[in-house]
């Protein structure tokens, strides 16, 4: 298809053509991963669709429609919406600080009618969009110009600081990783990268001083879970027991004693992966990792195939965002990382997370559908 004459792409595709252009293989794959999530939610509820599996399914259906709708919208429309979306997300984050709902000791939600909105979730997409939009306008050399670099750094820094204040270390980490990855992909000079990485390593002790007690506790118990096996180390050791006891083939669907008997905290959200490990063993948990790797592979291919820098950066940014979720969640439940509140995408129970992930896949799909669209470097989008 890339051999198609450029001129042919000048003509906008019709809705029907766009529907055909959607990568249905990827959609199917996303559906399979989400279905594994439904099964796990059914299992941890003791073999019931309520209270988690059924709502999750309904959200997935909504998310699927959202994915298709987003995919059909021209990539240039999303480009022109990038800055407004980022602005609104930033305002909402400030709003959370001011009038946020206090839950689990952290301000993370905003009530919007019946919907509980997590602005930090929105920000993950908005940040990728806005950074891609900005970097789209920069040549490789320009990216590394100190004055031009200040703008993306500020775009990353503002939401990261706001999310850290909520406090939500996990999401702030993901936002920072997303932003830095995009700068790296856009061609940031190694002369910037090397000293910065060194500085960050040196800054660890300083950051430590500003961390909340519960965050420090998590890091400490991560470093030595046995030190507090019944207190803060409980999560880690119980999660390890759950995964480890699954063995090669697992205990069988609905047979996981760790999750069925409430030894796992947050078993339906952050720790859902441990239930998979317990009930389906190495086969199940490594299998899900392979499915995720295939999804990521789709994302990378879509990014490489896009003819616009914006499209590439958006596709890769969202793919990396998806990857960082998986990495942090899996590493956390396996005891490779401190416990931070990061769900497993598509699998963990949660409304906002499901919808943002599906929205992200919609954008990825829009990049795919509109991969032949070339956007001038100084274009401001379609609107």
């Amino acid at each position: 298809m890339s051999s198609r004459p450029y001129a042919a792409q000048r003509r906008a595709l019709s809705i029907g053509e766009k529907l055909l252009e959607i990568n249905w293989g990827l959609v199917l794959l996303v559906g399979v991963v989400a279905s594994i999530g439904f099964a796990m939610l059914y299992s941890v509820a003791g073999g019931h669709f309520q209270p988690w599996a059924l709502p999750q399914m309904m959200r997935f259906v909504v998310g699927l429609l959202l994915l298709i709708a987003v995919a059909l919208v021209d990539i240039r429309v999303w480009m022109s919406l990038a800055y407004p979306a980022y602005g609104i997300s930033l305002l909402l984050l400030v709003g959370v600080e001011v009038a946020g709902h206090v839950g689990l000791g952290a301000q993370r939600w905003i009530e919007l009618g019946p919907l509980q909105l997590q602005p930090s979730e929105l920000m993950k997409i908005s940040l990728v969009l806005a950074l891609a939009r900005y970097l789209h306008g920069q040549s490789v050399e320009e990216v590394s110009w100190p004055l031009r670099l200040l703008i993306p750094l500020a775009m990353i820094g503002a939401p990261v600081v706001l999310v850290l204040l909520e406090p939500n270390l996990g999401t702030a980490t993901i936002l920072a990783l997303d932003g830095c990855s995009l700068l790296f992909l856009a061609g940031l000079s190694w002369w910037w990268i090397a000293p910065t990485v060194s500085a960050i390593v040196a800054a660890v002790p300083i950051v430590w001083r500003f961390m909340h007690d519960y965050q420090k506790q998590r890091v400490l118990t991560f470093l030595n879970p046995a030190s507090d096996a019944l207190g803060a180390g409980w999560n880690i050791s119980q999660a390890e027991i759950a995964i480890g006891s699954g063995g090669f083939a697992g205990k069988g669907f609905g047979q996981g004693t760790q999750s069925q008997l409430n030894f796992l905290p947050e078993k339906q959200t952050d720790f859902i992966y441990t239930t998979l490990g317990e009930e389906f063993g190495f086969v199940g948990s490594a299998g899900l990792l392979i499915l995720f790797a295939v999804v990521i592979g789709f994302g990378i291919r879509i990014a490489m195939a896009s003819r616009s820098q914006f499209g590439r950066l958006v596709a890769m940014g969202l793919t990396l965002n998806f990857f960082f979720y998986i990495m942090i969640n899996a590493a956390m439940v396996m005891g490779l990382m401190p416990v931070v509140g990061i769900p497993m995408p598509l699998v963990s129970y949660g409304g906002t997370a499901m919808l943002t992930v599906m929205f992200g896949f919609g954008l990825l799909m829009s990049v795919h559908v509109h991969r032949q669209v070339e956007i001038p470097r100084h274009s401001a989008g379609l609107i």
Partner: protein, 634 residues
């Protein structure tokens, strides 16, 4: 501005290159994660599997039913009764714990103290753990709770098992009691049953002696629990093995009669089968209600028991050391005969001079007993005669004879806390006081005063030994569970038949011949006549001035200063079958209540004749062949 420029090309190349770098990074992270899964699930899978099982499978102990204690005819002396109780599951109390307690407070009585305890128990446990609101309820109360149950949210009526002593204080010193486990008990015994809430163990008496047999073996229930300890389901069940039943030699009817007869005296009485030492009654009055300790004794009740000068908590029959007084003369007489004094006769003038000390006889006021030989010495309890016996024997031979009769060391009766009485010796005196033995002490100890001490169970054994001429040893149990207690027939005493016969003659004369110390309380029914020996033990010292100015009558002394009154005896006097000892603390000397008690008890036990009735336990072959077992099981 150009629409596209060359820089876009280099941008694409950079992006592609760096995407490949990131892809490599992502791939290595994925491989790391998979490696971690491999380590957790494949390499360490077994370890975690075990830990997951330990997490969720819990062993719950099931308390065994305590064995019963029954008397020789199978009457239950200690058993388990249903304990009607009501439990509260805090999380099920719809309107909260306080409202639930208020509501049930209108159905059954709850003191503020109860409410504090309940709230404390709730605070100590998880919300789904039932807490006892009230137990040992009457059937009426329990029925009322069940009637109102629809309004009592969170309340659970429950029927448990608890120890019961149907005869209360009557058998308290034989049975002992069970009570909550103390930290000291737990230090001595690592049986996990002791950690069960509400578990009771034997603290005294038979309950303590045979604790390990009566207790039984715990059952176990393997249950699956969740992270909060709530039981999800039972995986396996192993029933508890009930404890062994204990068959006592006690006849509850005789025990009852003895206790009734002793009344409110501070006294001890042992009745045994003279032939084989089976204890038919072992009473120490006053007793206490052993049920109090099981349900939880209040401070006031405990104080009342410990403050009582009649020492209800002391088992006087086995833990009470008394100077045997004149009952000790029987043992001295035995030694006298075998040491060439069979024909000894003394002219009693009321006192005896040894060096510059004068030793008085009870009959000193009337000028002495006159001519006294050995049987008459026992009959009238002549001190002067036995001073002479003691003087001739010397303390070494006296002690040897007393020990041969079983005095001075515990009898080995199956009760905790038995003391052995005391028989002095030269070596002991020197070690204890640093002063050599004095001959005057020989005389005083020869009439059962001074250092000599004996327990009522030893005295009863002494009576049985005179009755049969054999080294009878007392015992309280026939059988514990299925096990038969091995028993050898008693050996003959190391004294001549003649000596035993002479002492028995003296003891018969003391009761049945005019002038005998117990003649006024002899049994007149033909065939039931008893023989015996009275005794009094001074608990204060009579001074020389007092003796000259006239001794204060016992009845005018404060209770605590009165003499102990003792009696040992057996019946029928010509073919003895029942032996008895009795000690009435501060019973006084002049009205001899103990002989009256002894007469009534020996008459009752002969008329009832429990040895002729078939016991509830199987007879042992050994007993059947010895000929010592009376015609049991007619």
């Amino acid at each position: 501005m150009p629409l596209f420029d060359r820089k876009d090309k280099s941008r694409y190349a950079t992006f592609t290159r760096r995407t490949l770098i990131m892809t490599g990074g992502m791939a290595s992270v994925m491989v790391t994660l998979a490696g971690r899964l491999y380590k957790l699930q494949i390499l360490d899978g077994d370890k975690y599997m075990t830990r997951a099982k330990d997490n969720s499978v819990s062993q719950r102990l099931i308390a065994p039913l305590r064995g019963r204690i029954v008397d020789r005819f199978g009457v239950e002396l200690a058993n388990n009764r249903q304990n009607y109780r009501v439990l509260l599951v805090p999380e099920q109390a719809a309107q909260g714990v306080d409202a639930a307690l208020d509501t049930i407070g209108r159905v059954i009585a709850l003191t503020p103290h109860d409410r504090d305890r309940i709230r404390h128990d709730i605070a100590m446990n998880k919300k789904f753990v039932p807490v006892t609101v009230a137990e040992n309820m009457s059937w009426e109360e329990f029925a009322r709770v069940n009637l109102h149950l629809p309004y009592l949210s969170g309340m659970q009526p429950d029927v448990g098992e608890t120890r019961d002593y149907p005869f209360g204080a009557e058998l308290s010193h034989v049975l002992g009691y069970v009570a909550s486990v103390s930290p000291e008990d737990e230090a001595k015994d690592d049986n996990p049953l002791l950690d069960l809430p509400g578990f009771r163990i034997g603290k005294r008496g038979i309950e303590k002696t045979f604790e390990s047999e009566i207790r039984g073996t715990a059952g176990a229930s393997r249950v699956e629990v969740n992270a909060y300890g709530r039981v999800i389901r039972e995986l396996g069940h192993e029933a508890a093995t009930p404890g062994a039943d204990v068959y006592l030699t006690i006849d509850r009817q005789v025990q009852n009669f003895v206790t009734q007869r002793l009344g409110d005296q501070s006294a001890a009485c042992v009745v045994m089968d003279a032939q084989n030492g089976d204890v038919l009654a072992l009473a120490s009055t006053p007793g206490y209600d052993p049920n109090l300790f099981n349900v939880g004794i209040t401070n006031a009740q405990w104080k009342a028991l410990t403050d009582d000068d009649h020492t209800p908590l002391l088992d006087k029959a086995v833990s009470g050391n008394y100077p045997p007084g004149s009952t000790f003369k029987t043992a001295m007489a035995l030694a006298a005969v075998d040491n060439g004094m069979a024909d000894l006769a003394v002219d009693c003038t009321g006192s005896m001079r040894l060096g510059d000390h004068i030793f008085y006889c009870d009959a000193w006021r009337i000028g002495g007993h006159g001519h006294v030989d050995l049987p008459r010495g026992i009959q009238v309890s002549c001190d002067v005669f036995f001073y002479e016996v003691a003087r001739r024997l010397g303390i070494d031979k006296m002690a040897e004879a007393a020990r041969a009769m079983g005095l001075g060391s515990p009898t080995g009766i199956e009760l905790p806390g038995e003391v052995g009485g005391f028989i002095p010796s030269r070596a002991w005196k020197l070690a204890r006081f640093g002063i050599p033995w004095q001959q005057g002490e020989t005389l005083v100890n020869g009439i059962g005063q001074g250092y000599v001490l004996a327990t009522p169970i030893q005295l009863c054994m002494l009576a049985a030994r005179f009755a049969t001429g054999r080294a009878v040893v007392p015992r309280l149990t026939h059988q514990v569970g299925a096990m038969l207690e091995p028993r050898r027939p008693p050996a003959p005493l190391p004294f001549s038949d003649k000596a035993v016969a002479m002492v028995r003659e003296g003891m018969s004369m003391a009761v049945n011949a005019p002038g005998g110390t117990a003649y006024g309380w002899r049994i007149t029914q033909p065939g039931f006549e008893m023989a015996g020996k009275t005794g009094t033990a001074q608990v204060r010292r009579i001074t020389k001035e007092e003796r000259q100015n006239g001794i204060t009558p016992e009845s005018e002394l404060p209770w605590k200063d009165r003499e102990h009154a003792l009696f040992i005896g057996f019946a029928p006097f010509d073919s003895p079958r029942y032996a008895l000892s009795i000690v009435v603390e501060h019973g006084g000397a002049r009205n001899e209540p103990q002989v009256e008690f002894a007469r009534d008890i020996l008459l009752y036990v002969q008329q009832r004749d429990p040895l002729k009735m078939r016991p509830a336990y199987p007879m042992r072959a050994a007993d059947a062949t010895t000929g010592f077992v009376p015609k049991a099981g007619g």
